[in-house]
Symmetry: C2
Amino acid sequence: LAEIEWNKLGAYLKETQILGSIQNTLYWDQNTGMPKKGASWRSEQLTYIAKILHQRNSSEEFANFIKSASIELLDSERHSENPQIIQEKKRNIELLEKEFNRQRNLDPKLVESLAKAKSKGYESWQEAKTKSDFAIFLPFFEELIKLRIEEAKQISEIYSPWETLAQPFEPDLTLKWLNNMFQPLRETIPSLLSAINKFKKNSWDLSPESQQNLCSKLLDEFGRNKDLVVVAKSPHPFSITLGPNDYRITTRIVEGEPFSSFLATAHEWGHSIYEQGLPSQSHQWFAWPLGQATSMGVHESQSLFWENRIVKSKSFSKRFFKKFVSEGCALNNYLELWKSINHLQAGLNRVEADELTYGLHILIRTELEIDLIEGDLEAKDIPYEWNKRYEELLGIRPSNDSEGCLQDVHWSEGAFGYFPSYLLGHLISAQISSQMERDIGLIDNLIENGEYEKIIFWLKNNIHKHGRSVNSMALVRNITGEELSSEYFINHLKTKINDFC
Amino acid sequence: LAEIEWNKLGAYLKETQILGSIQNTLYWDQNTGMPKKGASWRSEQLTYIAKILHQRNSSEEFANFIKSASIELLDSERHSENPQIIQEKKRNIELLEKEFNRQRNLDPKLVESLAKAKSKGYESWQEAKTKSDFAIFLPFFEELIKLRIEEAKQISEIYSPWETLAQPFEPDLTLKWLNNMFQPLRETIPSLLSAINKFKKNSWDLSPESQQNLCSKLLDEFGRNKDLVVVAKSPHPFSITLGPNDYRITTRIVEGEPFSSFLATAHEWGHSIYEQGLPSQSHQWFAWPLGQATSMGVHESQSLFWENRIVKSKSFSKRFFKKFVSEGCALNNYLELWKSINHLQAGLNRVEADELTYGLHILIRTELEIDLIEGDLEAKDIPYEWNKRYEELLGIRPSNDSEGCLQDVHWSEGAFGYFPSYLLGHLISAQISSQMERDIGLIDNLIENGEYEKIIFWLKNNIHKHGRSVNSMALVRNITGEELSSEYFINHLKTKINDFC
């Protein structure tokens, strides 16, 4: 196989990936270790890297590398080389061209302004959240919205502005398709809420040390390799990959929420194990599109799977009950633990939300975003609109912006179009779980026997190892033989409510 | 003042500093957070940054910026602008030209090989140290020596190869001058050793948590601003600056050495407070030479000052005794604490060494290095020679390489010429302490009254704020009115031994 041009392109992509992973390292440090006063210089560093990355991703040189590799590939095809590899390589080229065209259309000045605005946005959001004062964040938020709308216009694809911003997270997503997915949830979930409203929360807590110990034990249970996966604390839990053998997870302790750090750890583990399972050979390597996650919806399906299908299952409570007791948990038996970890109640916080109400948090954010980017909602009206929609959909109202519209980090970094991925993740997780059970048996049984390796093996073979070779909708279709629908998730919710009541 | 060219040069330097500080962030993370398996990709990242940095520091573009700024400066001088500022700016230009010429002479391929060899060296050293097996490190060490000798040859200054490698740490240092400084120590210290040989060490320890608490309290005592200075753990303690308002310190817990982390914290605090006190305005800013430390000898004088003159003083033991007791220290009174923290005994470990024997550790390393770079010592013979010289000078012999020649990180990163800075730091610290006492009173009294701010103010005004405007020898001369000599340090040692016995 002639691979001269291919390897040149590969070398170029590798250097880009080196820079991208440096960016990730700066981001990781910013959130886990950096002293407060370091923020402004860190913003200069991130702006600089963003500028170089944009230059590389939109350069004439890069365009030529892609073109030459593509010509060489067509030549290989004519010589009837291995058709599967040719096909995969073509997919790489196709994805590179698509991304290149996106980047190419962007004004470098806009890219620099955006990087700066993201840093300033994040910084002001932190302060605004601490002081629960949306006004501190507002001017930076307005700037971010303005710049991202400008970005969407510059890219000017066949998609609408909000759809355009959502493409990097969920390729091929349209508002119409999304509406089809979400409409049944908007109709069903509120009516299910009434069934759970009678439950009062049993308030208790665990010491930060105990929570940390339990998180450690959880990762041991799942088979974490400490030489590969490092854990730290950050204001907002996240998972990030800093190199082909360098995975990081964060968690946080929330007072009065004894499961918060535990569930966040399971969630981020799910993200991380997906990244760990991505293909890493040759044209499917780390720096090539095929070596990457196919969409954030699929990413979230992996994190939500570990959080909800594993840790919130009855058999997991049975397995881990003693460990909770030895860390000072005063519940009487594993069923109480299961009830407590699955407590269903409309709350104000997305990250702490149960499976049932979670979707409503997402619907609100998604609709607000679309209105901000495409409708006539103004940024200054976000607190009012946020609170109003919480009242309408969840029947509760934030008493301040910190527990309301300032709770999430996403908008502070200008990440519009991301939120739907969480809910799509729920749908995907439910649909593939059903297939997994047909393939390797009931998840409850697997957990009871501690067969996490078997679960990871199935996930790796059916999802992880495919990287970006197919998009999320095709992936779901290939695995389950059906189009993605909200049906499996709604059934799962109904079963859980039934079980719970 | 016409500053058009000057500002262009400044913008260029700022971008270089952004890259340099990114390099520092990667290094920080490598030592404090990175999972083991991340090492090889981190090495790729560091190699990439080193390559770009070298390109920037040796580019035609940079040369032109320096030249134009220099011409503009001469023009300002003719127009009789503020002569002191002109003088300082000239010093900036002079230092930039000097460094440029160094970089310019280096083959970019060598720079890349060196960056790779440093990462591999560090990685193999870690493994070699853990397994106490010098053979694992040897091939990478040999490569590093070869490459650094090649580097010295390419730079080909008026200095000898080892002197050339030492210049970045101690500008203007020569072997002859160094010999003059060190010879009295080589003659005096071994004879003082006999006086302390009768002391047996009183073995006790503190829990890791207690040690960590004491380190925190120590930094509180010294006035650490948590929004500015962050602390973490690493295998080898160090201090590093990641931005103009971003300082980091590490420490480590050593079993059986209850003061190890405490003294390391004081030591790294001294480095950090120097960096925090460097000038940060205009042409003396972070990215300009004048905004940087003048030499590693002066840097070490600052860290050793806080470690030895402050923390090992009687008045400090008096002030901190209760805090030690409350963390489980079983000593009976502050004098016992003072004796314990000052315990004088020949040991194998440099970092844990007392003030008296410390110099011998440095003499051995310095002489071995010079023999490796300029003499006929071969890398493979290091363990033998190391052990032999310890036997000769300190009267003790390492039982393995881990506690012998593999104990320090420096050589693993190819840092030859650094070690003498530690001992020069002792000499400088002793000589300036004497001047400090003439200026603001006995250090013991200042500590007794908790007047650390007064001490910091003196250090800042006499040392820190001068940045690189003068070299270390001129700095010492300016402060104390004398040339640097070993006399003050030797007197300090004699006083301490007297006090101790």
